[in-house]
Symmetry: C2
Subunit: 121 residues, 2 copies
């Protein structure tokens, strides 16, 4: 968390955080990396499937079956998501289970959220 010392004036539906002050070069580069990780239809669906799966985690075998893609390709996409810190994988016996890391996903949302509603928390 960077916590820029800018007083957030929630005076109505103004604009997303990205539109409050110009983004620095370094921040932009880092955020772009994060965004690139989700800017792919397959990875978007993988993330969605993992997140919406009962128990909060999904087995790779289930994920692979849902696409017309080979197992290595799915594995590659999962690695991209894992490297970006969006998901975490764990091996239990024969199968590997993936789980979403909500904090990092929320970071993406915070970027473009209009902040129209006051943050009650």
């Amino acid at each position: 968390m960077v916590a820029t010392a800018v007083p957030v004036v929630t005076d109505g539906p103004c604009c997303a955080p990205i539109a409050r002050e110009p983004l620095g070069e370094a921040d932009a580069a880092e955020l772009a990396t994060l965004l690139k990780a989700v800017a792919d239809p397959v990875r978007l669906r993988l993330l969605s499937m993992i997140g919406s799966h009962a128990g909060g985690e999904a087995c790779v075998c289930d994920l692979t079956d849902a696409f017309d893609l080979t197992a290595p390709t799915i594995s590659h996409h999962l690695k991209v998501l894992r490297t970006a810190g969006l998901i975490d994988g764990e091996r239990r016996g024969t199968w590997v289970y993936y789980r979403i890391i909500p904090k990092q996903v929320a970071r993406l949302g915070a970027l473009f959220t209009p902040l129209a509603e006051p943050v009650s928390a």
Copy 2:
């Protein structure tokens, strides 16, 4: 808009919309296109500069000066953002001014926002 007829159970601070139900193939493809448009450091900064500029719009000349890139390259990035429906440009005399289209930007935010707070609207 595909509008899958699934009853969305908002039973508390669960997870982002993307994690409530698996994303359809078509929706994923369309969202990926939108995300690709912002998954670039230069475009992220352009969007941020335009959005945070006084008056809500920025001249291309200002934008070009802020980067170590040639004018055609900046123009290319602006076109990508415009094609994605994120910004809109208008020529006034000698200069061209760009403006953010908040609705489309908000769509991005809604994707990953945790929805921890009840939607008052």
